[in-house]
């Protein structure tokens, strides 16, 4: 029942986007379009048919498939809303988990479930979290796509109740402004001013609620330039690569703190992931 409604909603949304694209096409046919309008038209045309759905299908299989020394599936994984309850869960992460004694984001919690429920080894699970060019989606990418798909439409509410949650956010803010590397870049170099763009890509001002909501809601995303679903952990990892930092470890404390900082800023936004991006 839920699935049907959701599918219908999605379909209508896609149809609307398509119609909007057609309308803007007709309207501007005689006028000189700006580069920004052109890019928006391109994005609208792509909105209908997101290959992330193919990855979600893989993820669903992996979620329900018994694996590891304990030959268990992930269906009892508790992402903070109760065992196996995925709906809306990712919109409330990162959060403090008593059973682990720390703040965890979606991906570290997922790995935690793979370790505790399936008896698998952390190093083995996180050895290659991101797929390379011409490779199939990794297990983590597939699972993440599936997990986020269950929270589409959920309101973002990353909790700030436990002292560890407050501390994580405070550290995240410091790390956000931390300059380093040969280019002197911090996250803030690109993401702390309104209406900025690099080449033609808009750079959300992540210190403000609205752009932070849009950004937090849109990841993970299917990147058409890479033909892959990229997760929030990847987003942090790849920003730091471009900042010329060393490699950010998967599920590292710095990554969790930054995601907490962003998530708290994004409160009230509506989850859209997995979205489609350049």
């Amino acid at each position: 029942m839920r699935q049907t409604t959701k599918a219908a909603v999605k379909f209508t949304a896609a149809a609307l986007a398509g119609a909007a694209a057609m309308a803007s096409f007709a309207m501007n046919a005689h006028a000189q379009k700006t580069t920004e309008q052109g890019i928006q038209e391109y994005r609208d045309m792509l909105a209908d048919g997101n290959p992330a759905e193919l990855v979600e299908l893989r993820g669903e299989d992996l979620w329900t498939k018994p694996q590891g020394p304990k030959n268990a599936s992930l269906e009892k994984c508790d992402l903070g809303s109760g065992p196996g309850k995925l709906e809306g869960a990712v919109a409330t992460l990162p959060r403090f988990f008593g059973d682990a004694g720390k703040v965890m984001d979606v991906e570290t919690r997922l790995v935690h479930c793979m370790v505790t429920l399936q008896g698998r080894d952390v190093a083995e699970i996180t050895k290659k979290p991101y797929s390379g060019t011409g490779e199939k989606p990794t297990e983590l990418e597939s699972l993440v796509a599936y997990i986020y798909a269950q929270s589409r439409g959920a309101k973002i509410k990353v909790p700030q109740s436990h002292p560890e949650e407050l501390a994580s956010r405070a550290r995240g803010e410091k790390i956000f402004f931390y300059r380093g590397g040969p280019y002197d870049f911090s996250c803030a170099s690109c993401h702390a001013t309104d209406d900025q763009r690099i080449r033609l890509q808009g750079l959300p001002n992540l210190t403000k609620p609205e752009p932070a909501q849009a950004a937090f809601a849109a990841w993970p995303a299917y990147r058409v330039s890479q033909g892959a679903v990229r997760s929030m952990q990847w987003r942090m990892y790849d920003c730091f690569r471009q900042q010329r930092f060393p490699e950010l470890k998967y599920g590292s404390q710095a990554s969790i703190d930054l995601i907490t900082y962003l998530g708290v800023k994004a409160e009230g936004g509506t989850m859209q992931a997995t979205s489609l991006k350049r």
Binding site: F11, G49, P51, E53, L54, L57, G134, G227
Partner: protein
């Protein structure tokens, strides 16, 4: 055998709109791997869509079609409950068929 496709078929009057996402690398044969060697071409060459066993679209593709291909088209004479199936075959001879009911 490839991964599942995602097919949507929606009736609007006697017109059925079909949208398909296929899971395929669509290697051009011109991309270099990390070691500098060419990655061999590997792409879907033919696509056939049928509605209740009647061919409604046949396509031939080259390697320039994007990774995880998307296809949309419409045909007349279909209705809710009809079966739409789509088959692709790639240049290595691999093939896959998926189907859906028209909604």
């Amino acid at each position: 055998m490839g991964d599942p496709m995602k097919i949507r078929a929606k009736a609007n009057g006697d017109e059925v709109e079909v949208k398909v996402l296929m899971s395929h690398e669509m290697e051009t044969g011109q991309r270099k791997a990390a070691d500098g060697s060419l990655v061999p071409a590997w792409f879907i060459q033919s696509v056939t869509a049928k509605c209740n066993d009647k061919v409604v679209l046949q396509a031939n593709w080259g390697p320039a079609v994007s990774k995880n291909p998307f296809l949309s088209f419409s045909f007349k004479g279909g209705k809710a409950g009809d079966t739409v199936d789509v088959t692709w075959t790639d240049n290595k001879g691999d093939t896959r068929t998926d189907k859906t009911k028209v909604a």
